[in-house]
């Protein structure tokens, strides 16, 4: 029982960088800007955050630097795509590659140098609770923040006027424009805020989860974060669930490595990614037009519940995602 609690706590901790990255991507994509540079941003954030923390011996400064790096990359994306009208996909992809290579180049001096990390901070009293304390309250400040970030983003998007505006930007920017919203300026803001969160996700790796910096330290996490946002249907709670699921798969893979020695280690490293793709494919299959037609031909008793399940599972992307808005 206690081992299970410890494992669950480990899952929550392991998912924290993904939470920051996905919530950042969510913010940006809900406003209609697709930021494909996530992988590069996380890597530059990890490298930059670690280096700054190392040089200044200050973990908060490291996180600040990572956030600034993320915001700067998002700003470049915005200028090139929103202002200069280039494809968001193309620019984002190139920025991802650039970030990956640049982090290797600039980060060479700090490879495998021991550095500072986020201090362990069990919450007094609460940490001593049985089970619950082990799962939720024996972490560090960063992980507590990741717990708070999901409800905050959810509340912001679905319970504030600001959130309504952001969602309108992603669904139909022309409608937002008609209501007097400065569309491009708001998209800049959301994309840059999102970028800062993604940068923090990078530092969460190098200063907490996988302390230190090495060549391609966080490779692949950005792409996974993008996939989780899609899998989560752009809904904060479901996206968070996707993050925790992925983290759990990683930990299970790690455990199985020990128990099933015969299987090559690469299998376990790759397994979470493969499973993620399968889940994504499944979700998209259920929501395809063919599947809908098949549902329509089910016997009436089954049709209702199945249709409801599918409509819950399959969520359409923000309608204007990746599209440029030009004022008339």
């Amino acid at each position: 029982m206690n081992q299970l609690a410890i494992d669950l706590g480990a899952v929550l901790a392991a998912a924290s960088p993904l939470i920051f990255a996905t919530m950042g991507a969510l913010l940006s994509e809900r406003s209609g800007v697709i930021n494909l540079s996530l992988d590069g941003t996380i890597m530059l954030g990890a490298m930059g955050g670690f280096t700054v923390a190392l040089v200044t011996s200050s973990v908060p400064l490291g996180f600040g630097a990572a956030a600034l790096i993320g915001a700067a990359i998002a700003l470049i994306l915005c200028i090139l795509s929103l202002t200069l009208g280039q494809s968001q996909t193309a620019v984002g992809f190139v920025l991802a590659l650039l970030g990956i290579e640049l982090s290797s180049f600039l980060g060479a001096p700090v490879v495998r140098v021991p550095g500072p990390s986020v201090p362990f901070l069990p919450i007094p009293l609460l940490a001593d609770l049985p089970i619950v304390g082990v799962i939720f309250f024996r972490h560090n400040l960063l992980i507590y923040l990741s717990f708070l970030l999901v409800p905050f983003i959810w509340w912001m998007l679905f319970h504030t006027r600001m959130g309504l505006t952001v969602r309108a930007l992603g669904e139909r920017p022309a409608a937002a424009f008609a209501r007097g919203v400065p569309v491009t300026r708001m998209r800049y803001l959301m994309c840059i805020l999102g970028g800062a969160l993604v940068g923090i996700a990078g530092a969460a790796y190098s200063l907490d989860l996988r302390q230190g910096w090495s060549y391609r330290h966080t490779f692949g996490m950005g792409w996974i974060a993008l996939a989780i946002v899609i899998f989560g249907g752009w809904r904060p709670w479901r996206v968070a669930f996707g993050c925790y699921l992925f983290a759990a798969l990683e930990i299970v893979a790690l455990r199985s490595q020990r128990t099933m020695a015969g299987v090559p280690t690469q299998v376990f490293q790759v397994a979470p990614f493969v499973l993620m793709i399968l889940v994504l494919a499944l979700v998209n299959l259920v929501s395809s037009p063919q599947a809908l037609r098949r549902i329509a031909s089910l016997p009436p008793i089954l049709r209702g519940p199945v249709a409801m399940l599918v409509s819950r599972l399959a969520v359409a992307a923000p309608a204007a995602l990746g599209q440029r808005f030009e004022r008339p």
Binding site: R161, L164, R172, A175, A176, F177, G180, A319, R327
Partner: protein, 520 residues
């Protein structure tokens, strides 16, 4: 509030959409703005509501010069516009739409917004539920929601751009009532339309635009229809008065709603005999799509007929068209095309049998916007590895000449006007076509373009092709159908010969008065 424009000019490239317009709209009245498609009505309205910025000229609200940097500024100053396709967010509920980016003083809280929505909807005679997703509403309801939103956000002048396109007659009546009430309360209403009868029914004054210029300023209503037509269409009408009026689809000296009688049509109605071969035959067909369903439909459509489908939006007309075109398979029953059972056949088989489908949403389902007419003809060539561009270019040239499409063979279709796109779509229908299912064939077209489309359709009928079309326009249904099918609440009437119907009777049937389902 009073709205005045002075020397307002707006150009798009080489086109002068608005050319030194000077106009004054007094408060508390309903002002009609008439003009053909492309006369510059929408441009003027977008300038007044801040969507566009003028190249030259001056705007004044209540005597104060204003400079609008966007629609937000205009709404802040009290001017709101309802667009032809309402600018709302389909994923939001009605309430969320109301709250989205609205000034805080308009709706201090969600609960207040809910109250405002229900009370205002009730006062204006609208049927709006706060928690319905906008995507599930009809165009008419979305319009109503926009009106409520604009008023709640402080609009004292409402601009409506072609508001009756795509809404039902009953919704149009509700809208007119609400507009009259708003004007009586002191609001200014600008009503943009190309439909004379609506302007006559609703407006206190009318202004007429032609090719970006003001040709009739603040004429008090009523005006003789002929005079308005002359203003709208200019010399064309003056030269050959009678014919041009027919071209405009309006009869002079007769109240609106009376159908235009086309020479030759009546003889054709009587000539169909039981021995004419059938294009379509439906036997006990039951089908459903989404919420709409048709049960036990029996229908026989012989060659060379025009069948009009009437009814409120989403009463099953589209479902029947999609069944006829093979885009949807019935749950039970049989569909025969030219005497061959095609119940479960694929769309391609239908097309090989000469059945074509013209969808209402041209840009989404009908044509590929970025491709030219030549490309479209190339796509129609028989399957193979290469396309013969020479043949395709020739076909495009022929189509442009035959259908009077204003385009070159290589113009992307998205660059064409609605009427030209519709004619291009019709030109793409092969000559061998035996049956044509069209949804709203003249939606959004001006009267001249619509008339042109119908001339083509009727020419096809003369060669034995049958046309089945759905339309929300009663005049169109009465003018061109040989027989009419009325849809009401998921039921379908028998084929009603046009000669037995009047416009008023048809409107009653659509509203369910005396509606009788076809014998099962």
């Amino acid at each position: 509030m009073e709205i005045a424009v002075t020397n307002l000019t707006k150009t798009f490239g080489s086109l002068r959409a608005n050319d030194r317009l000077s106009l004054r709209f007094a408060s508390g009245k309903i002002h009609g703005v008439l003009g053909e498609n492309g006369a510059g009505k929408s441009t003027l309205m977008k300038l007044v509501s801040g969507f566009l910025q003028p190249d030259a000229g001056q705007l004044e609200f209540d005597g104060q010069p204003v400079r609008l940097r966007g629609p937000g500024d205009a709404l802040g100053a009290g001017v709101g516009m309802v667009h032809q396709d309402p600018l709302d967010v389909p994923g939001f509920t009605a309430l969320e739409n109301l709250l989205c980016a609205a000034p805080r003083r308009a709706f201090p809280s969600r609960a207040m917004a809910r109250t405002t929505l229900t009370t205002m909807a009730q006062r204006l005679g609208f049927t709006l539920a706060p928690d319905t997703p906008v995507g599930a509403m009809t165009v008419g309801q979305r319009q109503q929601l926009e009106i409520v939103r604009l008023l709640a956000c402080g609009a004292r002048t409402l601009i409506l751009d072609e508001p009756t396109t795509g809404i039902t007659a009953a919704q149009a009546q509700a809208l007119f009532e609400a507009l009259r009430q708003l004007a009586a309360d002191g609001n200014t209403v600008l009503f943009v339309s190309h439909k004379l009868d609506e302007v006559a029914a609703l407006c206190d004054t009318v202004s007429v635009l032609r090719t970006g210029q003001l040709v009739g300023e603040q004429l008090p209503m009523p005006q003789p229809q002929q005079r308005l037509l002359e203003l709208m269409f200019g010399e064309r009408i003056v030269q050959t008065s009678g014919q041009a009026l027919l071209l405009a689809g309006v009869t002079v000296n007769e109240p609106p709603g009376v159908p235009v009688v086309h020479p030759g049509q009546d003889e054709r109605s009587s000539e169909a005999s039981p021995t004419t071969p059938l294009v379509w035959q439906l036997e006990q067909v039951t089908a459903r799509e989404g919420m709409v369903r048709l049960r036990n439909v029996d229908l026989r459509i012989p060659q060379g007929r025009v069948i009009g489908l009437a009814g409120l939006d989403g009463s099953g007309q589209q479902l029947l068209l999609r069944l006829l075109a093979g885009r949807l398979h019935p749950d039970s029953g049989r569909i025969l095309v030219n005497g061959v059972d095609m119940t479960r056949a694929r769309t391609r088989t239908y097309r090989e049998a000469g059945i074509e489908y013209l969808p209402a949403d041209r840009m989404r389902d009908g044509i590929v916007g970025a491709l030219s007419l030549t490309d479209h003809f190339a796509l129609l060539q028989p399957a193979g590895i290469t396309v013969d561009r020479q043949v395709a270019v020739q076909a495009a040239r022929d189509a442009i000449a035959a259908y009077e499409i204003k385009a070159t063979p290589i113009t992307p279709l998205i660059a064409l006007s609605g009427g030209n796109q519709q004619r291009a779509m019709l030109a793409l229908v092969p000559d061998a076509c035996r049956g044509l299912a069209c949804e709203q064939p003249t939606r959004g077209l001006d009267v001249a373009s619509a008339q042109g489309i119908w001339q083509r359709l009727q020419a096809r009928c003369a060669t034995g092709c049958s046309v089945v079309f759905a339309s929300a326009d009663l005049d169109e249904l009465m003018a061109y159908s040989d027989e009419i099918l009325v849809f009401f609440a998921g039921e379908m009437s028998a084929l009603l010969p046009r000669a037995t119907l009047t416009g008023a009777r048809l409107a009653e049937l659509i509203g369910g008065v005396g509606f009788e389902r076809s014998a099962p």
